[in-house]
Amino acid sequence: MSDQPSGGIGFASLPGVACPYVAPDPAETPLLKLRVRPLRIVLIGNPNVGKSLVFGRLTGRYATVSNYPGTTVGVTRGRALIGAEVCDLLDTPGVNALDGALSEDEAITRRIVAGPDADLVVQVADARNLRRALMLTWQIAECGKPMILVLNMVDEAHAHGIEIDTAGLAAELGIPVIETVAVEGRGLTELRTALTRPAAPLVRAEPGKDRVRWAHDLAVTFRRQRRRSVGRFQEWLNQAVRRPITGLPILVAVLYATYLFVGVFGAQTLVGLLEGSLFGKVINPAVVSTAGQLPPFARDFLAGDYGLITMGITYAIAIVLPVVTTFFLIFGFLEDSGYIPRLAIFSDRLFRAMGLNGKAVLPMVLGLGCDTMATMTTRILGTPKERLIAIVLLALGVPCSAQLATIMGILGGISFAALMTLFGVVLLQMVVVGFLAARVLPGDRSEFILELPPIRWPRLRNILRKTVQRVRWYLGEAVPLFLIGTVLLFSLDRIGGLTWLARVSRPVVSGWLGLPPKTAEVFVMGFLRRDYGAAGLFDLAHQGLLSGVQAVVALTVMTLFVPCVANLLMIVKERGPRVALAIFVFVTVVAVTTGTVLNHAFGLLHIAF
């Protein structure tokens, strides 16, 4: 082990990490018996080691895979055929520890692994990080469950010059140790075989040895470091994205590329083809002429101003679908490259002023995909105060993919300055609110410690799979709500509700915000789904009903305005109804105030776009 310079440094100088350990009695855990319920296998491991990939390989179900810690929030269940048995398989969020100060997700995983429901534990580990993995192995062993250790990503470990004596390690631990490359399916057959013969781990408690020392000693014994052969380009890129001199231009380039792909290609070219040509010239005229045969009520219901097809389906498929699809594609690429967490290095200081830390960049950027999902991801943040601030900021300022793209689609067509004004105002608003929240709310922020995933060239297959899954989710989630929204508007229109709404909200909408009265409808739609409202604005702008200034004001208010129903329900679920109500009121007030100020400022300064 001469090439292990870290061998044998003074462990006794590490104070306080005591870990009382009682060895489990293997005889107490029968491995095979007739079961009342299927055998339950739990996948566990450090963050970003590929648990979801192994899960996908074993069950044939796709669990979202990305290249950053914390992709899996909550537990995913699936079924896998192991030997002759159908087993329940549980994919858990990544954990770094099972005792001490635990995050919400770590506590959930601990309960599952230690609880009576888990029959067999499969620890997935990054082969490059044996020492860290073994520290977790020790803690899993304390639960006394039969287990298997999977060393995943051995290909990358080999590229880093790391080799592991798997047989030696297996003998030492007394459990099967399997090498895999889950992304390519290598080693999965061996894993399936091993799953039929798990064993309780032999973690010998020697006096004076804690888990840190134990893991270190084992890693020194069974891990060999040879010459690295990592691609130079990869190393260079990793350096370039995190250094300010190169990193900031790269960030601008990434944003601009996103704008070109989503805002121009998606929101203008593709929407133009679908809405302008396919729906505008072929489908909708056909629907209108066919519906002309029906009684007037049915005709309007399907093909009128608020028709299910002419409005609901057109909005969902022709305006929003191209935009979310292009966004999810580029977003998946960024997720898998390992780029997003590196933004935390730049933004740490800014977020600290807002009572958060650089880690918050993850939920914020994910919010650009979908605020509802991102609200769940705030669980990775350290303290309740941080989670609350992040949830408020997501609800207030972060536009979701569909909304973002309709913003780009409308304002990109007016002027670049208009677009920058909107983003400037919204960002400023978020910073101010975050800054105040950091000082008003009780509690602390946690310290910034973030693991950066390796920079990788993304696999097209995974991006496509993820995009297909997300688009399917969008269709399942959004289209019904678009239809319900359309029916609601149709009914409101029939009973005169829309006229009433326009009249009641006129002082605010027309007086304060200077917008056409019809915009009130759009705001109602925006509550059902943000992107539905944005699509409504898109429609208004296309009909030439909005001036440049009005478009900027309307979109700013819409961006800041209340989160959609799904997001609000998620906030209720994560933080309770009182917090949700408070956020709702707060966000509405901020949105209307900002819009009013903006409207009058434009007027006073004679700004037009």
Binding site: P5, S13, R132
Partner: protein, 97 residues
């Protein structure tokens, strides 16, 4: 664990926050003035014996600990004591107590 045991070795150790980019060394100790921080670092592999390579110090501190790349704020880096590689190679002790 009482302070003072083999204190002479800690004299040579420097906090991670004071190192330049490119510095290589070994973690000697992680201060436990905040236990939760030390636990989180330990879970990420920052424990005595781990090899450290400082990659960057501005705008945040980024370092590699064994095969894990970590970004931390300065306060955290201050609590990680490092034995710089060139000095460490000759004089390393097997165990301290």
């Amino acid at each position: 664990m009482p302070l003072g045991c083999s204190i002479s070795r800690f004299d040579e150790a420097r906090p991670l926050s004071s190192l330049e980019p490119g510095a290589i060394g070994v973690v000697v100790r992680v201060l436990r003035d905040r236990a939760d921080r030390a636990d989180r670092l330990a879970a990420l592999g920052v424990t005595p014996g781990a090899r450290i390579h400082v990659l960057q110090t501005f705008p945040g501190i980024v370092f590699q600990c064994d095969e894990t790349e970590l970004a931390v704020e300065r306060t955290v880096a201050r609590s990680i004591l490092i034995d710089i590689a060139d000095r460490a190679s000759g004089t390393r002790l097997a165990t301290s107590t």
